[in-house]
């Protein structure tokens, strides 16, 4: 019974990780820029959700109507202002530019919102459904289901729609895609926007579970990269599976091994993946470009 509860906790935690990572895998997998400010996109989403609640009185599930499109625009803005000039630059430039962006965003939040921890106290979200000995938190369950639904919807989008196919084409072979008449800049911009909107969804959904403060992104971003690499860049199903796996590892090692070491366990897993199967569980489109095949 205890094992089952630990497992379920792990799956639900995995849902959180997966939801946060879906946007990153799309962006990293298509635009191929390592964005160290990804955690701050999450932070902005969470603040947006918080302020919709505290100023407008909107329930975080409702305020998604505002937050998701808002973050889409934020993503486009970041892409065009910071990312676009360095898209073809050597990776060290991308790393430093996005690190700089991360520092600016964290401290702007500190300047404007102060370092206080803000959270949303939702009675609804705290409800726990009991099935025998097992307790299932409603808000976590919503996150878990959303992760699956979003992954599926985005996969449909990528697979069936025209725009989705264009995005996949660019990811597989940028030059060939251009020869087919696809405008890379437009695609990258839209991908960044969609990816950020997905992070916006994640931010809004996890606000009832967590709290926001300027550095909150840093707590999640490394885990997000682990999930993304584990699942395979650009792969929705991979990010979902990767997130669930990491969540379960987190929960199991925290319970059976030692709570102080659980982060270490999944970093070790991360290193293992990088060394033995860098294209991830589900493989990665355009892996040759990255020198991974």
């Amino acid at each position: 019974m205890v094992f089952l509860q630990v497992l379920i906790n792990g799956l639900f935690l995995g849902g959180v990780y997966a939801l946060i990572s879906l946007g990153l895998t799309l962006i990293f997998g298509v635009v191929r820029v390592i964005n160290f400010a990804h955690g701050e996109i999450l932070m902005i989403s969470m603040y947006a959700s918080f302020f919709c609640f505290s100023v407008l009185g909107l329930n975080p599930y409702l305020s998604l109507i505002i937050v998701i499109p808002g973050m889409f625009l934020v993503g486009i803005l970041i892409d065009q202002v910071i990312i676009r000039p360095i898209r073809n630059a050597p990776s060290y430039m991308q790393i430093f530019a996005t690190v700089g962006l991360s520092v600016v965003l964290i401290n702007l939040a500190l300047v404007f919102f102060s370092g206080d921890y803000r959270s949303i106290n939702l009675a609804f979200a705290k409800q726990v459904v009991h099935m025998g000995d097992i307790g299932i938190s409603l808000s976590r369950f919503i996150v878990f289901i959303s992760a699956i639904v979003v992954a599926w919807l985005v996969w449909l989008f990528l697979d069936k729609t025209d725009m989705g196919k264009q995005i996949r084409a660019i990811a597989q072979d940028r030059d060939a895609a251009r020869l087919m008449g696809i405008n890379p800049n437009k695609i990258y911009m839209i991908t960044f926007g969609i990816g950020s909107a997905m992070v916006g969804l994640a931010g809004g959904l996890i606000m009832p579970l967590y709290y926001v403060f300027p550095s909150v992104g840093a707590y999640f971003v490394l885990t997000a990269f682990v999930v993304v690499v584990l699942g395979g860049l650009g792969n929705m199903v991979g990010a979902l599976l990767g997130g669930l796996i990491i969540g379960v590892i987190d929960s199991l090692s925290g319970f059976y091994l030692d709570p102080a070491l659980k982060e270490m366990v999944y970093f070790v897993v991360f290193l293992g993946v990088l060394l033995f199967r860098p294209s991830g569980l589900m493989g990665m489109i355009g892996a040759e470009e990255m020198g991974l095949k």
């Binding site: 205890v2 509860q5 630990v6 906790n9 792990g10 935690l13 959180v16 401290n107 500190l110 102060s114 370092g115 206080d116 921890y117 803000r118 959270s119 106290n121 705290k126 726990v128 009991h130 307790g135 938190s137 976590r140 579970l209 967590y210 709290y211 403060f213 550095s215 840093a218 707590y219 999640f220 885990t223 969540g247 987190d250 929960s251 199991l252 090692s253 925290g254 319970f255 030692d258 709570p259 102080a260 659980k262 982060e263």
Partner: protein
């Protein structure tokens, strides 16, 4: 673009030249340095601690300042120990301050106080709990506030004492779990708990650390639940305290009482996030704040009013009070020393003997002398126990300090 590049270069050159100039001291001013972490993850508590010192400065200046001069603060920001060392260097060698007040964060304090001591500048610690701060035999380092291990010892003493009585169990029957975040603060408290447990001959049912940056504590909750404790002794910052409580609720972990050690569990943010669930359920060992009975803590209401007037908002945490008290003690030392020379200050500090009923927090100030293991530590510093009741932190122990009508409750 050229202009941009030149501008960058000019800025850099300017930095080299302008920085050491420092600020000139007017003849009728006393410059004192402060080091707090005003940026970084603990920024809000670092800032609030500084505010306590700032209030003391304002109050003293209203009384005419020190040695006939107005007090001016030169403020240093130290988000990490290396920055603390640099800032201390600047304060000591450029600004040439005789005293530095600080710091809330133990790691900042450890690094900065060592440097200040080298420069024979007094380091006046008013809130950081790391035991080692006053265990290094540094002549110029003093701390007015209690230590981390004392926090832990008091947590366990309270749990097996008054709390056990209220619950109705004998100490030997109590199952106690200790969980703590893994940075300097939590580790010190947990060490105190362990130390006290050994002294009292009891065994802890759980003794677990966790990474304070963790995004999930459900596995820790499960481990604690498996041990089925009566009481959880917790040393957490605000975010992890909130997370643990919530995840414990979700997992259906039921205990008689949480006993925190200050840190995050006495913050308004903690209350706002968790709501009524904490009432009668969470105690805190720590230094109290504006919730002290005004009859017991003279001047606390006036101080709160001053805070609100000066900073434009109600106090955000309890830390300003203890820093205020520590700074007021410093003014007393400086007045008695009659000068800002290091040896005079040390001598005056060692002679300090302020009785408990003269301080706002009702414990006295007397520093351990040379030769003792914790030289420079205020040996009269002690803690209070408060409990969240009706959305407020009410003192429940010692009894004399409690607001009438508020006594310890258990679930």
């Amino acid at each position: 673009m050229r202009i941009l590049k030149s501008a960058l270069l000019m800025t850099a050159l300017a930095a080299l030249l302008i920085a050491p100039l420092g600020s000139a001291m007017a003849a009728d001013e006393i410059k004192l340095g402060t080091i707090f972490s005003r940026t970084g993850p603990l920024a809000n508590l670092g800032l609030d601690s500084w505010r306590g010192a700032e209030l003391a400065r304002i109050v003293q200046n209203q009384k005419g300042g020190l040695l006939g001069k107005k007090i001016v603060f030169i403020n240093g920001d130290a988000p990490n120990p290396k920055a603390a060392v640099s800032e201390t260097e600047r304060l000591c060698t450029v600004e040439k301050v005789p005293v530095i007040l600080g710091s809330f964060s133990s790691s900042i304090s450890l690094a900065a106080s060592a440097k200040a001591n080298q420069h024979k500048v007094i380091y006046w610690e008013m809130g950081a709990v790391g035991d080692k701060i006053t265990e290094r035999g540094l002549k110029y380092v003093f701390r007015t506030s209690p230590t981390g291990s004392d926090l832990g010892r008091d947590q366990l003493r309270f749990a097996l004492g008054e709390l056990a009585i209220k619950i109705g169990k004998k100490p030997a029957q109590m199952k106690v779990a200790s969980i703590y975040e893994d940075s300097a603060y939590g580790t010190a408290c947990a060490a105190g708990i362990r130390d006290q447990a050994k002294k009292m001959g009891v065994k802890l049912a759980v003794d677990e650390a966790y990474n304070h940056k963790a995004t999930d504590l459900s596995s820790l909750v499960m481990r604690v639940k498996a041990a089925n404790p009566d009481v959880i002794l917790e040393s957490s910052y605000e975010n992890d305290a909130i997370m643990f409580f919530r995840q414990a609720q979700e997992a259906g972990l039921k205990i008689r009482q949480y006993v925190g050690s200050g840190g995050g569990m006495n913050q308004p943010g903690y209350k706002k996030a968790l709501g009524n669930a904490i009432n009668g359920y969470v105690c805190n060992v720590g230094y109290p704040g504006y919730n002290l009975n005004p009859a017991y803590a003279k001047g606390i209401k006036e101080l709160e009013a001053l805070y609100t007037k000066t900073f434009g908002e109600k106090p955000t945490s309890v830390f300003s009070v203890i820093n205020y008290m520590g700074a007021m003690a410093l003014w007393d030392v400086i007045n008695r020393a009659g000068s800002l020379k290091p040896e005079a200050l040390v001598k005056a500090a060692l002679a300090t003997n302020i009785p408990g009923d003269k301080t706002i927090l009702r414990y006295g100030i007397k520093f351990a002398g040379p030769g003792s293991k914790n030289m420079g530590q205020n040996v009269l510093a002690s803690y209070f126990i408060s409990q969240w009741q009706g959305g407020q932190l009410q003192i429940v122990s010692p009894a004399g300090a409690a607001t009438p009508g508020h006594s310890l409750q258990v679930k």
